[in-house]
């Protein structure tokens, strides 16, 4: 190309034309600052994932109604959250306030997506009362990057109406996973349209959410302490998967579980034809009771007893792209205050992210919420840098392993065969 012009003047013209076009193209991509003009209230952008967005929306609406600062919430499809955040981070176009599935937090912190909020958090009077699992995953080397936003905890929800028809006392606590299997079989025997136990079987993020607690309650571990090694082929874990595998083979668990990716789990439970469902506390908000369905809550038991829960949900922090961290923190601080936690969350049957507000005027009214609050004390949140790419990613190594263990012919062989793939995904 360069040989085509022979005079310096023409070279300059060429260069000028190129530069002008480049300027034109880049000018379109320039971003505008978020601050309004002087005197205008700041508008703060926020992203939340679809599965917990209803709770974020309640907080945002209540906050916007009484503050100068306005929060502009964008809901992102849950399955694409990791990708969308990645694309935005690469372009430095992250929203000011970024909510994240708590399990992604160690990775997001490693990628420098969040600003340090240590001093701001430690200045809060109730800093010690924030859910410990969430605080643990949002902290790296003593620096805090996020605060709890919403709680998603796993539990067993049962249909008391069906249990009674199958001759089971719904008020009795489940003593073990084996007892759950027997009860589910009894419900499934009521007729072809009835299912004993339903859960999400085509989403490894959900399977770890609902099945890890059974491993913990059995005295086992799913991951090593530092989150770089899988312990899923340990005896306790294999026993748990074997019991679920037996339920699938015997028909206590319906075939459709294999295709359930999570989108319709609550709808299936809402039909009233399901005895038990492994799900998150969102069931209490999302599923309406009727004459065929009375919802009860049980903890997730271990093979021979014990009980545990997975404390998931979202944390929220200020992103590294944020120009208005003070306005963002104004919102975050308000969401943790008593007004937001009690008048907004608890009044709508949503669990508080503060342990000191777990007992409040609203929660005491509903024994199921009280039960969830009790279970929360035994809850755990696994911490692993590569949790997202290993468990939540549909193409990660865990989904194939879990499905083979739950629905295949030999749970132990499946889990042992997948050890290497899961370990290398967790460790790299």
């Amino acid at each position: 190309m360069a040989s085509t012009y022979r005079s310096p003047r023409r070279a300059v013209a060429w260069g000028g034309a190129l530069a002008a076009s480049a300027l034109l193209l880049t000018a379109c991509g320039a971003s505008t600052p978020e601050e309004g003009a002087d005197g205008e209230p700041a508008t703060v952008t926020m992203w939340a994932r679809a599965s917990t967005a209803s709770q974020s929306q309640l907080l945002v609406d209540a906050f916007n109604a009484e503050h100068e600062t306005q929060i502009d919430l964008t809901v992102v499809p849950t399955d694409n959250y990791l990708q969308k955040v990645g694309v935005a981070a690469g372009a430095d176009e992250l929203p000011c306030v970024l909510a994240s599935d708590v399990v992604y937090m160690p990775n997001f912190v490693r990628q420098n997506l969040f600003l340090d909020v240590t001093d701001r958090v430690e200045a809060l009077e109730f800093a010690d009362a924030l859910v410990p699992g969430h605080m643990d995953l949002g902290t790296e080397d003593g620096v805090i990057y996020s605060v709890p936003h919403t709680i998603g905890m796993s539990a067993i929800f049962q249909n008391d109406v069906l249990l009674e028809r199958a001759g089971i006392d719904p008020s009795a606590e489940l003593g073990s996973l084996r007892e759950l299997a027997d009860n589910a079989a009894a419900v499934a025997a009521l007729g072809p349209e009835f299912s004993g136990l339903y859960y999400t079987g085509n989403n490894a993020g959900s399977i770890s959410f609902t099945h890890f607690p059974a491993i913990w309650a059995s005295g086992g571990e799913a991951l090593s302490e530092d989150g770089t090694e899988s312990l899923l082929s340990s005896d306790e874990s294999v026993e748990v998967f074997e019991i679920f595998n037996e339920m699938f083979v015997s028909g206590a668990t319906p075939d459709s579980v294999r295709n359930e990716s999570g989108a319709t789990r609550n709808d299936v439970f809402a039909t009233g034809n399901v005895g038990y469902v492994l799900a998150s506390n969102s069931v209490l908000e999302a599923v309406a009771e009727n004459e065929a369905l009375t919802i009860g809550v049980q903890g997730i038991p271990g093979v021979d007893g014990g009980v545990s829960t997975y404390v998931g949900g979202d944390v929220v922090g200020i992103s590294s792209s944020c120009d208005t961290p003070d306005a963002a923190w104004e919102f975050l601080e308000w969401t943790l205050g008593e007004e937001a936690q009690v008048d907004v969350f608890a009044q709508n049957n949503i669990l508080s992210v503060r342990t000191d507000l777990a007992d409040n005027e609203f929660s005491a009214e509903d024994p199921r919420v009280v039960r969830l609050g009790e279970l929360l004390a035994d809850g755990r949140t696994p911490k692993a840098l590569n949790y997202g790419q290993t468990f939540n990613d549909p193409n990660g190594p865990a989904l194939t392993a879990f499905r083979e263990a739950l629905f295949g012919s030999d749970a132990r062989a499946a889990l042992e065969a997948s050890d290497d793939a899961i370990n290398s995904s967790l460790a790299n």
Binding site: L18, S21, G90, G396
Partner: protein, 324 residues
């Protein structure tokens, strides 16, 4: 340029040279806008992607040169290695299906009959739907709880298939979707090729008593070769780069049975946040595509001229004799 040795007048050569230069300048000016766009939107990103593939390129922060680690890692990436076979299988299946169905549709609607315009339009319409939108549409159709297909199968007393539940079903369901989406487009391309074939050839063949099958085998297909070559290049390139149908319909499932090469590239970049590895996979894909298309064009060029020579063999011989 031939230079004359007969020493012409200086002024003339000068004038000629000036004119040539003016023409050259004008030519470059005409080509400049496109050249600028190609440089900025194609060459620069391509160079950047190649540079990325030589670096450990984090999402935020400074890249570090680490060649050839990203390329070495491709050999260890089991998901990518498995996806190569699957993508090639998908490519072969879709290429055959597109050609057969596209040609069948084109032959159906090639002759002007009453109402033929309606069918041409109906077959082409799906091409107006975006690929991701079409995938989402079929995702709803294939959902047995909400979609109509399950009810329709049930109404006719057929067993309701689990459209996306098993690896084979998910693959077949996706192929049906892309066929619906692309068959009409290929039909239009083949239709233009068909209409370019002179009617005299068909008349001569019929006069010689050729039947429908012989006409198809010995006239239509050989004369459609350039058109078929175009469709092959488009389909093979598109299928090797398949992403949306599987990303939307199956998310690579069940159990990673429908993961394409581009899905693994996307995953490296936006789930694992390893842009260097993703760029390396992109470069490998690019080289493979260029090689495959160069091979195709070479094959078709040879076969094409051979075919033409066979068909126009006599006429070509005559013209050569005439020339002599």
């Amino acid at each position: 340029m031939p230079s004359s040795t007969a020493a012409p007048e200086r002024s003339t050569t000068d004038r000629a040279r000036a004119r040539r230069r003016r023409e050259a300048t004008a030519g470059w000016l005409y080509a400049l806008p496109s050249a600028v766009i190609i440089v900025i939107l194609f060459l620069v990103p391509l160079g950047l992607a190649f540079w990325m593939s030589l670096n450990d390129w984090p999402l935020i922060g400074r890249p570090e040169f680490n060649a050839p680690d990203n390329y070495a890692a491709i050999g260890q990436n089991q998901l990518f290695l498995d996806s190569v076979g699957f993508t090639l299988k998908y490519t072969v299946v879709t290429t055959v299906i597109y050609l057969v169905i596209g040609l069948a549709l084109a032959l159906l609607v090639q002759n002007a009959r009453p109402g033929v315009g309606f069918f041409r339009t109906a077959f082409l319409l799906p091409s107006a739907v975006g690929l991701a939108s079409a995938s989402l549409l079929f995702y709803a159709l294939y959902n047995n709880d909400y979609g109509p297909l399950g009810d329709i199968f049930g109404f006719f007393g057929l067993p309701v298939p689990d459209f996306l539940g098993t690896p084979d079903n998910a693959f077949a369901s996706t192929v049906v979707m892309v066929t619906w989406r692309f068959a009409g487009f290929n039909m239009i391309i083949l239709l233009t090729g068909l209409q370019a074939i002179p009617v005299e050839v068909y008349e001569a063949a019929r006069a010689d008593g050729a039947n429908w099958w012989q006409i198809l085998r010995q006239i239509t297909l050989p004369l459609l070769k350039p058109t078929i070559a175009l469709i092959l290049v488009l389909t093979i390139t598109g299928s090797i780069l398949a992403f949306e149908p599987f990303y939307v319909l199956t998310a690579g499932g069940p159990s990673n049975s429908t993961v394409t090469m581009v899905i693994t590239m996307f995953r490296e970049a936006f789930s694992l946040y390893d842009l260097g590895s993703a760029a390396a996979i992109a470069m490998v894909l690019l080289v493979a595509l260029v090689a495959i298309n160069a091979l195709q064009l070479a094959l078709f060029r040879d076969r094409d001229t051979a075919g033409r020579r066979r068909f126009f063999g006599r006429r070509a011989a005559i013209t050569e004799e005439e020339r002599r």
